[in-house]
C-alpha cells in the first residue's frame, strides 16, 4: 500500500468513528481534520468532499466483512458451520470496531441521498454481497439450504446480524455480545435450512 493510500485509510477510520457517533450531517470536514491533527486544506488532497469520503468509507467498512466472509467461504466446511463462523466474526467486529457496523446502520442505511450517485444499488457494497451470494449458492447447491428467492434469504442473514448490532449499540444486551453468537447463528441457519 502506498503511503497516500495508508493516509487515506486512516482518514476513513477516523471519519467512520465520527460519522457513526455524530451522524453524517453533524460531522464536518474540520471535525475529521481535527481528529487527524491535519489541516483542513490538506484533507482535501485526499478527498474532494465529505460525500466522496462517505462513499469510500462504506466500501472500506463492507470490504472488511467481505474479506472475513471470503476466507470462510473458501474453507472446507459445511454451510451450517460457515453461518456459525461468520456470525461469530461479525459479532466480534461489532465488539472490536463498532464504528464499522454502526456506520452501515446509522449512515449508509439512513442517509441514502448521500449515496445516490456513484454508489447505486450494490456498487459500493458489491464485494460483500457477492460473498453472501456465494455462501447461499453453495449451500443450496449442496442441498443444505432450501431454494427460495435471493432477497428474502439475504435479508434473513443481514437483518438478524444488523438487528443484533443495533441492540448492542443501544446497550440493552445483558450479556457479552459474543456469547449470543451461536443462538443468532442457529436462528439464521433455521431460516435457510433445507427441509425434506
Amino acid at each position: 500500500m502506498s503511503s497516500k493510500e495508508e493516509k487515506k485509510n486512516s482518514i476513513i477510520e477516523n471519519a467512520l468513528k465520527l460519522f457513526s457517533k455524530k451522524g453524517f450531517y453533524n460531522t464536518t470536514i474540520p471535525d475529521i481534520a481535527k481528529a487527524m491533527s491535519m489541516s483542513v486544506g490538506n484533507m482535501y488532497n485526499y478527498f474532494k468532499s465529505k460525500e466522496e469520503l462517505a462513499k469510500f468509507a462504506i466500501k472500506y467498512s463492507t470490504n472488511i466483512l467481505a474479506t472475513d466472509l471470503k476466507k470462510i467461504n473458501e474453507m472446507d466446511a459445511s454451510s451450517k458451520e460457515k453461518i456459525f463462523l461468520f456470525t461469530k466474526k461479525y459479532l466480534e467486529n461489532v465488539q472490536k470496531s463498532p464504528e464499522i457496523i454502526e456506520y452501515f446502520l446509522r449512515v449508509y442505511l439512513s442517509n441514502r441521498e448521500v449515496f445516490q450517485e456513484g454508489c447505486e444499488g450494490f456498487l459500493c457494497v458489491s464485494e460483500f454481497v457477492t460473498e453472501v451470494m456465494i455462501l447461499l449458492d453453495e449451500g443450496a447447491a449442496k442441498k443444505e439450504f432450501r431454494q427460495q428467492d435471493f432477497f428474502p434469504a439475504f435479508a434473513m442473514i443481514m437483518g438478524a446480524l444488523g438487528g443484533f448490532a443495533f441492540l448492542s449499540g443501544e446497550q440493552v444486551l445483558d450479556k457479552d455480545i459474543i456469547s449470543y453468537s451461536d443462538d443468532v447463528a442457529e436462528n439464521i441457519y433455521r431460516a435457510l435450512k433445507y427441509e425434506k
Binding site: V129, T130, I134, D137, F150, F151
Partner: protein, 300 residues
C-alpha cells in the same frame, strides 16, 4: 456415371438411428451453396434421395468412398433397429473400411444424442464410442464431429470443402472443427447488451432482453457459431427470441432445457471462463443500474 464426375470426391450419407432432421437441414441449404457442393462432390448415396446405388450394393461392392457422412446414433442391438437385416454397427464398420474420412453429422452421430436417453436399449452410441481403434485404422483423418441438432448445412459444406482442399482440419478435444466450434452461440447474439446489463426478456419471441436468467439460454456456454453463420442466412434462435438449448454440446439433450438452474436465485452455471465470484460481483452491480433505453420497446 457422367464423365466429369470421375474425379469428384465420392460421398456416402448413411442414416443410422435418426429423426432425419439433419437431412432436412441439409436440403434447406442456400441454393447457390448447394449447387456448388453438388458440382464439386459426387453424392453417390443418400437414402432420402434418388441415387444409382442401393445400400446393399454399396456394402457388397468394392466401391471406394472419400467421405462417409453418418447421420444418427449407432447400436449393435438387433432387436431395436436394423437396416438391410444388419445392425447399424455392422453396416458402419463395413463402410468405414472403404472410406477415407468419417464425419458425424449431428449430435446423435457424434455422441448418441436423444436416442441415448432411450432406457430400454443401453447400447446406443455415437461413432467414436461405437468404433474400436482397429475399425478406424484405415481412415486418413480422425473422426470429425459436426455436432448440432440439427447441423447447419454450412458447417457440412465448410468441413467438406476444407478437407477436400487441405486434407486436414483442426479439431477440438471433442472432435469438433475448431473453425466452427471455437465460438460461442453468445458471440454475435443481438442481445449481448441486454446480457451485460442484466435486462431479461420475460417471454419468448421478444426483440428485447436477454434469455440467460429466466429462459435457460445456453449461449454463453455453447460452442457454435449460430450467431455468425446465420440459419437460412437470416436468423438464429437467440436473435429470434428462443433460448439456445446447447444442441452442439456433449450433454445435449439435458433435462429442463428451457430453465436456468438456480440456487437461491443465483445461476448454478456462469458463462464459460469466468469464475463465479467474478461473475456474481459484476452481475450484481450491473443489475442495479436501470438504463431506460434497454427497458423500452425497440420499436414503439
Amino acid at each position: 456415371m457422367k464423365n466429369n464426375e470421375r474425379n469428384k470426391p465420392k460421398i456416402v450419407w448413411l442414416q443410422a438411428i435418426t429423426c432425419n432432421g439433419n437431412t432436412h437441414s441439409f436440403l434447406s441449404a442456400n441454393v447457390n451453396r448447394l449447387k456448388l457442393f453438388l458440382n464439386s462432390f459426387d453424392l453417390i448415396y443418400h437414402p432420402s434421395l434418388t441415387t444409382d446405388i442401393l445400400l446393399d450394393d454399396l456394402l457388397k461392392k468394392d466401391e471406394e468412398i472419400d467421405f462417409l457422412l453418418v447421420e444418427g446414433a449407432i447400436s449393435s442391438n438387433k432387436e431395436f433397429f436394423q437396416l438391410s437385416n444388419q445392425t447399424t454397427n455392422e453396416i458402419l464398420k463395413k463402410l468405414v473400411l472403404k472410406s477415407k474420412y468419417l464425419i458425424a453429422v449431428g449430435s446423435c452421430a457424434s455422441y448418441g444424442g436423444v436416442h441415448k436417453k432411450f432406457e430400454q436399449n443401453n447400447n446406443i452410441l455415437g461413432l467414436q464410442e461405437a468404433l474400436f481403434e482397429h475399425d478406424t485404422s484405415t481412415l486418413k483423418h480422425p473422426i470429425v464431429n459436426l455436432t448440432g441438432c440439427p447441423v447447419h448445412p454450412e458447417w457440412i459444406f465448410q468441413t467438406l470443402f476444407s478437407l477436400k482442399e487441405y486434407k486436414q482440419i483442426a479439431l477440438d478435444e471433442k472432435g469438433r472443427p475448431k473453425e466452427i466450434y471455437s465460438y460461442l452461440a453468445h458471440h454475435g447474439c443481438t442481445r449481448n447488451e441486454y446480457f451485460e446489463w442484466k435486462v431479461e426478456a420475460n417471454s419468448f419471441g421478444l426483440k428485447e432482453g436477454c434469455l440467460f436468467y429466466e429462459q435457460g439460454c445456453r449461449g454463453p456456454m455453447t460452442h457454435s457459431n449460430c450467431n455468425k453463420i446465420l440459419w437460412n442466412d437470416v436468423n438464429s434462435k437467440t436473435r429470434a427470441g428462443m433460448p439456445c438449448i446447447g444442441c452442439t454440446e456433449f450433454d445435449f439433450p439435458r433435462n429442463n432445457m428451457l430453465e436456468t438452474k438456480k440456487n437461491i436465485g443465483i445461476p448454478d452455471e456462469v458463462p464459460l471462463g469466468v469464475s463465479k465470484r467474478a461473475y456474481l460481483s459484476i452481475a450484481g452491480v450491473a443489475k442495479t443500474f436501470k438504463i431506460d433505453r434497454l427497458n423500452e420497446k425497440i420499436i414503439k
